[in-house]
Amino acid sequence: MTARSPLTRGIPVVLLCFALMVAAIVFAPFIGSTDISFGAVFSRRIPFADNIDAQIFFLARLPRALAAALVGGTLAAAGAVFQGLLRNPLAEPYTLGISAGASLGAMVAITFGAMLPTGGVATAGLAGAGLAVLVVYALANARHRGLSTTVLLLSGVTLNAFFWALILLVQYSSDFAETYRALRWLMGDLDVVGYSSIVTALPLIVIAFVAFAWLARPLNLLSLGAEAAGARGLNVARAQRVAFFSGSIATAGAVSIGGPIGFVGIIVPHLIRLVVGADHRLVLPASACFGAAFLVACDVVARTVAAPLDLPVGIITALAGGPFFLWLLLRRR
């Protein structure tokens, strides 16, 4: 046995994931259907209004790369939190109906958008997510002093089905244009222009990440079961509430930027666990950094593979990540 915490063994992996994230954000904006030059982007001789390269870089590709990093990192970390909270490897940020709530809000905004102010889709998505969070929490907390993870799961699954029925109902009453817009949103799309959606979601995500940092050790203890965690001195009810609400607001923030992008929140934490082990003090930061790098890379593929068409990034995350994860899983066994 070493004289150092086993935690120290995983720190190089976290640093590597961080480096990958930074490299992805820096290099992704230079890749796309239109070539841009590094010199032109940062040239002071050409005014910004006339500098097409700088406009593509700063108004289209950099915000998109930042949005991808923020959404990918948030969904991956939130996935790790929900898996730890629910003690269930199949849990993901969308298990508890938060994305279905957000989707319902967005669908209502798209279909009945004339009655809503500008930017109403993201706001309506956040409102729908908030509604889902409150309903699931009220149900899971109703008969217990703390959260019942079983009731939490069942409530989430039921609410998902209920909200999806409402989404289909709203879509049924939409015209073709609205249905197409709604479908694109549901596929998960990072087609952001400028930084407004990032700035709107950032406060939620920052608050959630502060909570995630505190949650790392409690989530380790919760893996032993609520009673064993309590016997080791953990305030189980408080840890479960913090995990539920921080994971939920992080998911709501991410979904408000990019729609319900699938796969990142379930696969990335497992991929990271295969490398660093189960300790959430490593899993959370490594998942956040690698999730960010992964979604930025997937978005580059989505932008370029069928250029000038933009594929929804949700398709790429599943197509690229799924086989890779299965390969890694089979190789390890």
Binding site: M1, S5, W214, S223, E227, G233, A278
Partner: protein, 286 residues
């Protein structure tokens, strides 16, 4: 006396109408420091609930539990976890933690929210792994262990939890003890370290005979070598007879009898406890 329970009563969902039945009904018992006490009873007799009351996981509906003279309900979670460690019947993990990580989880209450385990915590984990003969398992993934190995590792985690050496509160307390009792500071500190209580719920329920004997030997060794106080529940007559110095027979939430194994594990009392004929019980106690 380390633990003293007085007139304990407990009902799940107390306060509802009609009044729910008492699962624990007027139980009084005490656990001396350095002893092994077993709570024996059939399924549904309230053993696990009583253990939860005695370890502070549940609050009694009536009565009180005193640990070293202090009411358990007045102790903070962290203080309680410094003195009482619980080993559940079985431990299932959702993820592949290593054995060392599981044992280090016992140090949770000794560390700040963002603090990383230091040399004291690692030394404590090593002592716990040595005490349970599990050091060779340190780097193994917990789910890959056998049932008996898992039980030993969870006991090691509980020992690391009760090991006060290296914790900030213990350092301050030892400094104060040293000042007060300059003549015998180390002996006093050593005695205080043994103030922990190890609580085990049916520690052999899912183990085969070999591992049952292994756990019995481990508990006896911890009790003799480290003066560890042990409180356990079981429905295994032979395990109780071989390990416990004091036995409490629990029937429908009430104490049927208590005393040494020789006084309590008699064909007459055991046949009453399990509602079977005395003639069938005698060979089981042989």
């Amino acid at each position: 006396m380390l633990l003293d329970a007085v007139d304990l009563e407990f009902a799940y969902h107390a306060g509802r109408r009609p009044a729910p039945p008492l699962v624990v009904d007027g139980v009084s018992l005490h656990v001396d420091a350095g002893s092994i006490v077993g709570i024996l009873g059939p399924n549904g007799s309230g053993k696990t609930t009583l253990l939860k009351l005695l370890s502070g996981a549940l609050r009694p509906t009536a009565g009180r539990v005193l640990f070293d003279g202090r009411d358990l309900t007045s102790m903070s979670r962290r203080t309680l976890s410094d003195h009482v460690a619980v080993v559940p019947q079985e431990t299932h993990l959702a993820f592949d933690y290593t054995v060392l990580e599981i044992v280090l989880m016992g140090r949770y209450s000794k560390l700040g929210a963002f603090e990383i385990e230091g040399p004291d915590d690692l030394a404590s984990a090593e002592r716990a792994l040595d005490a349970t003969g599990s050091r060779y398992l340190a780097d193994r993934a917990f789910p890959t262990l056998s049932g008996g190995e898992k039980q030993r590792v969870i006991i090691a985690s509980a020992l690391a939890q009760l090991d006060a050496r290296g914790s900030p509160s213990e350092a301050a307390r030892e400094a104060s003890v040293s000042r007060r009792m300059a003549s015998e500071p180390s002996r006093e500190a050593s005695d205080q370290r043994r103030m922990g209580l190890l609580v085990l719920d049916e520690p052999t329920a899912s183990l085969d005979l070999k591992y049952q004997l292994e756990v019995a030997a481990l508990l006896t060794r911890l009790n003799r070598a480290q003066k560890m106080t042990v409180l356990l529940s079981t429905h295994d007559l032979r395990f109780a007879a071989s390990v416990c110095q004091h036995v409490v027979l629990l029937s429908r939430g009430r104490v049927l009898a208590h005393g040494t194994p020789a006084e309590t594990l008699t064909p007459a009392l055991v046949s009453t406890l399990y509602d079977i004929e005395a003639g069938i019980v005698a060979p089981l106690l042989a």
